[in-house]
Every structure is written in C-alpha cells, then in structure tokens.
C-alpha cells in the first residue's frame, strides 16, 4: 500500500488531493485566526470559513493532485539541479487499458485519452440538455425550479464548449497531426501529458458544482459580471474550472505550433502540409493569443468575488461592461477555435472521398489565416444591446459580415472539390456533407444576426439558440463525428460498423433539424432563451422540439455502441482503408510505437487524388529516397 502511495499514479494522486485539501484548510484557518475572523462556532467550522476552504481548495488541491499523479516529476527532478534527461519515450504506448490512467507521454495515447474524456463529458452535457428539454416540453414548471433550470443550461453549455468541442479537436489533432507531418511525437511530450490531465480536473469541477452550497453556477457559460460576482459559491466552480481548461488549451496550442514549425519531415514544406495541419496551426495561434483574455476575465471575477476587489462594482468606479469586452475578445475567436480544426477535417475527408485534389489549396490555407486575423475585430457584435457606445456597432457589423468572405471561400472550394468527383458516400463522407449543408445554414443565420437591427430584434430569443446549435452541433459536432469515423481505423486498428454509422448519421441529421430548425420560428416570434417557463402560444412547437431532441439524444447511443463494440471486436483495419495520400495512412493501423520506423520524405502535395503516379510521401530517409545516380554522385564526393 505504501509503495503504491509513493509511486506516481492515481492512488498517490488521490492521497495528495486529500493532503492538498487539508493544506488549504490549514492555511485558511491560520489566516482567519491571525486576522481575528471567526473560525469555529458551536463545535464546527463557520460557514464562511468552510466556503473559504472550499474556494482555496478548488484553486490549489488540483495542483497537488497533478503532483501526486506524477505530472511534474521530471520538472522537480530538473529543478533540483540534477542532470538533464531528454524524454526517452520509455513510457510510450499502451499495452492495457490501465496505461490510459497514468501520465503517458505518447501523443497517440494522449490523443485517445483526450477524445474519450471529452466524449464522456459530452454525454454528461447531453444528459443535461435532455433535462432542459424535458422541463421545456410544456409551459409552466415541470420538475425543476427556475434556478436549477439556469444551472442545467449553464453547465450544459460550459461542458460542451470547454470540455468537449475545444478539447476533442485537440485530441484528434494530437493523434493525427504528428503522424501527418512525419514526426515521431509532439515537441514537448511531458507538457502534452500535463495539458491532458488538467482537462478532467476542469470537467469534474464544473460537473461537481451541482453539489456546491447554493447550487451549481447558473449564469450561463458567459458568466456576466456582476451577476457572477454576487452568485453563490457554485459560480467559482466555473470560474476556476475555466482556468484549468484554459491553461490546458494554451499549453497544447503552444505544443502544436512548435511541433508544426520545427518537426516536419524532410520535404514537408508549409505548402505541402495537409489542411488539417494548417487548420490546427491557425487554431493554435488563436488559442495562444485569445485564451489569456478569458483567463484574465475569470481572474477579475475571482478577485471581486473572493477578495472584494472592485473591477465590476459601479459604486466604486468599476466598469461592468469591461467584463463583456474582455470576455468576448476571447469568446468570439473561441468560436473559430471550435470551428477551424473541423474545417481541416472536412478538407481531408472531402478530397479523399471524392477522389479529387482539394480545390484552391492555397486559398484554403490563406482563408484560415484571414479568419484568424478578422476574428479579433468583431467581438462587440455580442454586445449590440449591452448599452455600450453606439458608434462601435456599425464597424463591428461590417467586420462581422466580412468574415463571411473567407468562410464563403472555403464553402465554395469544398463544393468545387466535390464537382464531378467520384463520391464515396460512406459514413465519414455523409457527415462531411451533412456539415457542409448545416454549417452553411448556421452561417447564414450568423450573417443575419450580424445586422444590428435584426440582432436587436431577436436578442436573447431562441433564434440565438438555433443559430449557435447550427454552427456548433451541425457545424463542429458533425465534423467531429466525421473525423472520429474517418480516423477510427487508424486509432484502433479496427473497422467500425458501416450500417450503424449510416443509421447514426441519418437519425441524427433528421432529428437535429427537427430539434433546432423550429427554434428559429419560435425565436422570431419572441420566445426568450434561458427562461424555464414560456407563453402558452409556444407550447405545441416546444413539445415537438423536446420530442425531437430525445430522438437526437438516443441517436448518440448508436454511435457509442458502434464505437465500443467495433473497438472490441470489429474486423481488422488495413493500413490505408480510404486509399489516402497523407502520411498517417502510410503506416500500419494502429501506427508503430514511434510512428515511423524510418523517417519519411515528402516529395509532393497531399491531395493530388486522381493524378496518375502521384506520390506524397516516401517511407524512406531523404538520402535513400533520392534517385540512384545522385546518391552515387554524393557518395563519390564524400570519398574525395
């Protein structure tokens, strides 16, 4: 037992978590005693002191947990002045399921850890959505009160955004990106492992807010001040959870950028990179630049809440609108953080499945970068009715409309890629096409919302809910499904059940539209969002929406069953079942433990499908890949 508590791993992590909580309790009790605040009252600790201990534990105890897990072991070793030790990859690979529950530095293991964890939280978020829809099935109060209802949709949105869409893309890219560029691993494997392990911390924290005194946080995922600075303690589970998710996401983005810039195989120039790599390059830039703003905004809330600072107290000259500016300066770019990696996935799949080169490869890459730049110039379109200065509205309306241009370039390039292609309408392709149609609808309602008069009219109605679900569900989630099906053979070495995959697609596609399509209508008619009750006139549509949403929820179970059963007993996958050019398909499924037995050499573009004799990568080092006489000539030179 003591041996297990000494070795890095989950037992030691749990033990350290307890120690960390006691440590926080000791600090709070000592500090309150020292400053003469009451600590003990009638045999117990006062509520205020309890809350303070809980708050500090939220901040500090997770670090103890990570130390116990062994995520910092090497850095402690380094800090003690010992000899440097390059990552020797001795911890690579997973031989049994328990290897997924330790600090593992293998990008392939981490990728799967990411994907499975995010789908776990997606299921919780989905269940919360089912509860929301159950409450909304009829007017009046069904089985939760108004405050609990606010908690349900707040935690739903926060989990879906911070624990599902953002990290699942990081997970997929973690798995395939190093393979695609011909690298043996990510640039910083230990940092990669640390990034992953902060994720379950954030997720468990947000989910656990339901048991917090005063109920879960109920301010929406936007947590506007001063609502959030005067909320019960559950709010802090969001405020601090976001910090962990944010640090995790910045560290991963940094890792991707360094990996892409420094670890490409010989011959893999920037203009030969698959578009998924370009997409993650752009996304990582956004994360590195924008995510610090959400961290700062939540620090402001934390300081106002816990220490009585005055960032958002108007009576002390604080500025309430400043929260929204800082928050949206992150959260608008965040919608591209949640979309650009999906664009990359779609580019891969559409090209492979229509057996044609991607149309306008360079324009596809440039439009990603254009979206990154423009994404920083539009944040105040979320604030048209906030009471900010009127003159900001028109410029933000114009820049928002302009973003439709690079996005449109992508849509039309995809259409042109499909044009006269030999379409293989299997599961990944169906999802890709589903994305193309649904995301275009979401994009159109987005441009409608950019128009100031229209935005004012439908502000805080179900039109907004419809729009966000068309871009995040019909957009992002459809690309995630497409990507998971597409790389499932590579990640697991097994084929999924094609029949179930198609059933999953069609059931989801139909029930998705039945759920979110009518929301446009009730929104335009004025049904407010984020309210547990509504007027009688919306009853029929809402019942329809709720029933559709239950079908939508059930359709996800088909996916789960397909994934689990295929992973356990599906037919073995060949190395390259889709006949793709990109490097990840040129190695076995699943790939060897160090990805490439020999460093590959890239000699052509990634998408020249249908071009006779085209080669993207050769599985040989550069010296040997050269034509014979050249090799002879160079060795002759060496001889001299």
């Amino acid at each position: 037992m003591t041996a297990r508590l000494r070795a890095p791993g989950l037992p030691r992590a749990g033990f350290f978590l307890v120690l960390g909580t006691l440590f926080c309790a000791a600090i709070i009790i000592a500090a309150r005693e020292a400053y003469g605040f009451p600590v003990f009252a009638d045999g117990g600790i006062t509520t205020k002191a309890q809350n303070a201990i809980l708050l500090l534990s939220l901040l500090i105890a997770p670090l103890w947990f990570l130390i116990g897990l062994g995520a910092f072991d090497y850095w402690f070793y380094w800090a003690a002045g010992k000899k440097e030790r390059a990552e020797d990859h001795s911890g690579h690979g997973a031989t049994s399921w328990t290897d997924y529950f330790r600090v593992n530095t293998d990008h392939k293991v981490i990728g799967i850890q990411y994907v499975v964890t995010s789908f776990f939280f997606m299921m919780i978020g989905g269940l919360l959505a089912m509860l929301v829809r159950a409450e909304l099935a009829a007017p009046g109060s069904q089985f939760v009160d108004a405050n609990a209802f606010n908690g349900l949709f707040s935690v739903h949105a926060s989990l879906m955004i911070f624990l599902f869409i953002i990290p699942v893309f990081a997970g997929l890219a973690n798995y395939v990106l190093p393979l695609m560029i011909g690298a043996p691993d990510m640039a910083f494997p230990r940092l990669n492992a640390l990034s992953f392990w902060m994720l379950p911390i954030a997720g468990i924290m947000m989910t656990a807010s339901f048991v917090a005194p005063g109920g879960s946080f109920s301010t929406g995922w936007t947590a506007y001040a001063p609502l959030s600075t005067s909320a019960p303690l559950g709010q802090m589970f969001f405020t601090i959870g976001v910090q962990f998710a944010g640090v995790s996401s910045i560290a991963t983005a940094l890792n991707f950028l360094v990996t892409i810039i420094t670890m490409r195989a010989p011959g893999m120039s920037f203009w030969r990179m698959p578009l998924l790599v370009w997409a993650n390059f752009s996304t990582s830039l956004l994360v590195v630049i924008a995510t610090p703003f959400v961290a700062a905004s939540q620090f402001f809330v934390l300081f106002d809440y816990a220490l009585g600072f005055n960032f958002f107290r108007p009576e002390k000259d604080g500025d309430v609108l400043m929260y929204q500016h800082v928050f949206w300066f992150y959260s608008h770019p965040a919608v591209y953080i949640m979309m650009l990696p999906g664009f990359g996935i779609i580019s891969e799949i559409l090209s492979v499945k229509s057996r044609k080169p991607i149309f306008g490869y360079r324009m596809m890459a440039f439009s990603l970068l254009a979206i990154v730049l423009l994404g920083f110039t539009v944040w105040a379109h979320h604030m048209f009715v906030s009471g900010m200065q009127d003159w900001i509205r028109i410029p933000m309306m114009v820049t928002t409309a302009i973003i439709a241009v690079p996005t449109g370039i992508k849509i039309f390039s995809w259409l042109a890629t499909l044009w006269k292609g030999v379409l293989h309408l299997d599961t990944p392709m169906l999802w890709a096409l589903g994305f193309l149609t649904m995301f275009t609808l979401g994009g159109i309602s987005g441009v409608i919302l950019a128009m100031v008069p229209m935005d004012i009219y439908v502000s805080d109605t179900y039109f907004i809910v419809a729009h966000i679900h068309y871009v995040l569900y019909g957009g992002s989630l459809f690309t995630i499904y497409a990507g998971v099906y597409y790389w499932f053979p590579k990640m697991t070495g097994r084929m999924f059940d094609e029949r179930l995959g198609k059933a999953h697609f069609w059931l989801t596609f139909v029930s998705f539209n039945a759920t979110f399509g009518p929301m446009h209508l009730v929104g335009v008619k004025g049904m407010p969002r984020r309210v547990a009750d509504y007027a009688e006139e919306f009853a029929a549509w809402n019942l329809f929406i709720s029933l559709s949403s239950f079908v939508l929820g059930l359709s996800t179970l088909i996916f789960l069953y397909n994934m689990v059963s295929s992973w356990r007993g599906g037919p073995r996958a060949s190395a390259n079942p889709w006949r793709a050019f990109t490097l990840e398909w040129q190695v076995s499924s699943p790939p060897p433990i160090f990805n490439f037995d020999r460093i590959p050499t890239v000699v052509g573009g990634p998408y020249e499908y249908g071009v006779p004799g085209h080669v993207h990568g050769i599985m040989e080092p550069a010296e040997e890949a050269r034509p014979k006489q050249a090799a002879g000539a160079s060795s002759a030179e060496e001889g001299v």
């Binding site: 002045g81 910083f188 360094v258 420094t262 703003f293 700062a296 960032f311 500025d319 400043m322 800082v326």
Partner: protein, 178 residues
C-alpha cells in the same frame, strides 16, 4: 529555431495578452469610467518606484553578463552574474511589497486601487515565477551544468526574465507616469 526557445517565445505572447487584458481593464476604469484620476489623495510614489525600476533593469544587464560569461566558459562569471541577478530581483520584490504596505489605499477601496494592485500584483507574480526559474538556474550553475556549447537551459529562463523586466517598464510608465 530551437523548440524550447520557440516555445518560450510563444508562451511570452500569451503572457503579453494576459497583461493586455489587465491593461484593457486599466484603461476602461480610467478612461471610459471617467472617475477623477488619481482618486483623492492617492498619489503614487513615482520616485521610489523609479528607483525600483532601475534595480530591475540592471538585473537584466547582470543576467546578460552571466550569459556572456558562460559563452566564454567563465564559470565564476556565470555564478556571480546569476547571484547578482537573483538578488536584484529579490530586492525589487521586497521594495514592491514595502510599497504596498505604506501606500495608504487597498484594492477594496475603489476601482483605481483594484487595478493598481491588479497590474502591479500580476507583475509581481511574474517576478516571483522568474525568480524561481533564476534560482533553479543558479543552483545548476553551481552544480557545474552549462558550458559554452551547451547553455540552452540557461537561455530559455533568461528570455523570460528579460520579458519580465521589459514588461515592468510598460507597467511603470502606464501606472505611475502617465
């Protein structure tokens, strides 16, 4: 470019954005809020803080001296430079804390106090992290690590320390001078 250096530079971009968010808060409170500035009687000790700025900036030079020393395999120079840098940084932190004690207003008093403590405190936290890194490097320099051909583990924390110094100049100019 070397991965560790590139990683540090990207991390510094993130750090600059964190400061950017705090500066955003500062200018919203000061300019958009339109309250009287500075608040009644709360004048900041420009001179002492200026002196402190000089201390921190000089630590960048001692760090550079240490760097030049290790490039010539001058171990004593490296150790002297590192110890001097560390002590200068520590002095800066102490003077800053002393300023907090004597300044006469708290972050709870008004938004100006909040953002003053917010910005200088954020920077102080960075100085602390920087000092931690410097301490590791100093320990390593006494344990015989680093040489003219191998001093990346010295350079990368060094970049961070220079960033902390430059950031202080911006914070000082914004908070104390303009």
């Amino acid at each position: 470019m070397d991965p560790a250096t590139l990683g540090m530079l990207l991390f510094i971009i993130s750090e600059i954005m964190v400061f950017g968010a705090f500066f955003t808060a500062y200018f919203f409170i000061r300019v958009v809020g339109g309250a009287e500035w500075p608040a009644e009687g709360d004048h900041l000790p420009k001179l002492i803080a200026g002196f402190n700025t000089a201390i921190l900036v000089s630590s960048s030079f001692t760090l550079h001296y240490a760097q030049e020393a290790i490039r010539k395999d001058n171990r004593l120079g490296l150790q002297l430079g590192m110890v001097a840098t560390f002590l200068l940084g520590l002095t800066f932190l102490f003077i800053q804390i002393n300023e907090y004690v004597h300044i006469g207003f708290s972050p709870q008093d008004h938004a100006q106090g909040t953002i003053f403590y917010g910005l200088t405190g954020l920077h102080g936290a960075h100085v602390s992290i920087g000092l931690m890194l410097l301490a590791f490097v100093t320990i390593r320099s006494f344990r015989g690590h680093y040489s003219s051909g191998h001093h990346l583990g010295f350079e990368v924390p060094g970049i961070y320390w220079h960033f902390v110094d430059v950031m202080w100049i911006v914070v000082y100019l914004t908070v104390y001078i303009i």
